[in-house]
């Protein structure tokens, strides 16, 4: 420990203190930010279960519905400090409302005050911002502790890409007549360049990876679009897409584009840096040898990459699948309703991944030969 302390320079110490200070400040803020919310927030101080009722639905599913009487203290607004009575109904499966514990903070509405002394009201939602912040801090801590520089880069790239996406969507919302796909195309271009430069730095292999990624995602988009048009989108259940406020096709295609981008970048970087490191070891290496190595590497990673994408997409549908099955919906209907879009995403992404292997192979060869010609 003393050894470690001695090795830390003054500048690192200042940096550590600054980060520590920011972490502390954000934690203190998020636990005391109630007054920044318009909506009343109340903290549960007492909870009693007042009734429980067993229910059986038409499919024979058994559950218990509980009623919970809560006494909570208002934490902001004009009635700050006053006690409020709330009632929460939740199921033993916690499928919609959770069971609240003493100390939980809730967004509430306050009923018109009668003559009675105690306020009453309704529960709207749970205050979750402090959990989200703690999770974000833990994420940043684990990634930088394990990955050091690489981990910090991953965190930074997540933040930058999230901001870029959000800005792109702002443009889309504010301008009525630009296609989402066009906007996301521009965002993807910027995200690719920024992420790859962040991950592997200003090197020839990075430029090769950028070109390969852009070609790969473009080709993936063209193929998916062509298949969708040729088949008239047969088999896709756009009506089942969640959270819709806009025409689903545009959002879906943009999602395909963005979703596959990370995997395509991963493939492009892996192949280009492997080939460049072979070239750096032996400047006279033949194109044939490079191609053969590139192909072997490509074969090794194609299986796992398609797998990663598949699970990332399809797992999210598990709760809805369960809901359908337990309500007695038939297998085929449930699958086509819930999985058609996710599977299309995964398959399109897989096609992009596989195509990017030869694309990055030849792009990297081109860059290597250009470098050779200059020597």
């Amino acid at each position: 420990m003393m050894d470690l302390l001695k090795r830390i320079t003054r500048r690192q110490l200042v940096l550590l203190l600054l980060i520590g200070g920011a972490v502390m400040a954000s934690l203190i803020f998020v636990y005391h930010n109630q007054s920044f919310y318009q909506q009343p927030i109340a903290k549960v101080v007492e909870s009693t279960i007042i009734s429980e009722q067993e229910v059986v639905d038409s499919q024979g599913n058994q559950d218990v519905i509980y009623q919970q009487q809560l006494l909570a203290e208002l934490m902001n607004g004009a009635d700050k400090g006053a006690l409020i009575e709330l009632v929460n109904e939740f199921a033993g499966s916690y499928v919609y409302h959770p069971e609240f514990q003493v100390g939980d903070q809730l967004f509430v509405t306050i009923d018109q005050v009668n003559d009675t002394e105690r306020l009453t009201g309704g529960i709207i939602d749970v205050k979750r911002d402090h959990y989200l912040l703690m999770m974000a801090l833990l994420f940043a801590f684990v990634l930088s502790a394990v990955g050091r520089r690489q981990g910090i880069l991953a965190v930074i790239s997540l933040i930058i890409n999230a901001v870029l996406m959000s800005l792109g969507l702002n443009v889309y919302i504010q301008s009525a007549n630009i296609d989402l796909l066009v906007i996301m195309g521009v965002v993807v271009l910027i995200m690719t360049i920024v992420s790859l430069l962040l991950i592997s730095g200003f090197k020839h292999q990075t430029y090769a990876a950028i070109v390969a990624t852009l070609l790969g995602t473009f080709l993936l988009l063209v193929i998916t679009y062509a298949v969708l048009k040729l088949t008239n989108e047969q088999g896709l259940r756009f009506e089942e897409m969640e959270f819709l406020t806009r025409p689903p096709q545009a959002i879906f295609m943009a999602g395909v584009l963005v979703g596959a981008l990370g995997a395509v970048m991963d493939i492009a970087v892996t192949i280009s840096s492997a080939l460049f490191s072979l070239y750096d070891k032996n400047y006279a290496i033949a194109d044939q040898d490079l191609k053969a190595s590139g192909r072997v590497i490509g074969q090794d990673i194609m299986g796992t990459m398609t797998n990663i994408l598949f699970f990332a997409y399809v797992s999210g549908t598990i709760p809805t699948l369960l809901l359908y099955f337990m309500n007695g919906a038939p297998l085929g209907f449930t699958l086509s309703m819930n999985l058609s879009l996710e599977l299309t995403r995964a398959l399109a992404g897989g096609i992009g991944i596989v195509l990017t292997i030869p694309i990055s192979l030849y792009t990297t060869l081109f860059f290597i030969n250009r470098k050779r010609a200059r020597l």
Partner: protein, 252 residues
Amino acid sequence: MNVLVILTLLLLVLMTAIGGKKGVRSFVALFVNFIVLLITVLIMTDPNANPIILTLLACIVISSNTLFFINSINIKTKIAFVATILTTVILLLFIQFITEQSMVQGFGDEEIEGLTIFSFYLGLDFVKVAASVVIMSTIGAVADIAISTSSPMFEFYRHNPSISRRDLFLAGMKIGRDLLASSANTLFFAFFGGYLALLVRFKDLSYSWGQMVNAKVFSAEMITIFCAGVGVAVIIPVTALLSTLYLTTKKE
């Protein structure tokens, strides 16, 4: 013709053309994994089955399928397998705790809208289901890092057989670290792509910053992203440690 059929055939043709035998094996593995996922969900509909245990069993089948079938059964893939399962167990417990605390299980207001015809009182613990979703979405990436770390470590040891335990572990950490940023990125973008409709909705209905971060669906998805990041990070020291222990104890 159906979109899914054409895309599936296209993927099969491309994987065969570019990946050869290994490409075909990868395609079969993908198909088998899909079946495993479906069977897991079907068994999960029985309220007596614990979703956490089921997820763990599914992860054992899925990762052995990914590791042993696409690659082959050897000591490198065995170590990657043990590391994957160990990490999965650690993550499952942690994620269940987080889900319970932040109460993001089940369905949010935005989702309930389209599902009103269903009965929601299913007697199934949705906290555990939520933990299962997070684990299943990361299992592919975790298994990938495990094999990509353990395999070069064996090569490294073969070239430097006299290396000390500490140095071998540090070499493994370095190998894993180089994979971390791009694997994390792969997952981030996959999730972003999936959440696009939700983000558009939040912007369209002009949710305030406060409404957004406290909404159940948004929190659930951010927590998934964070847990996925933690998962691909935690697998690195676990794999490096197991490989080091195996290689150096064998020597003595």
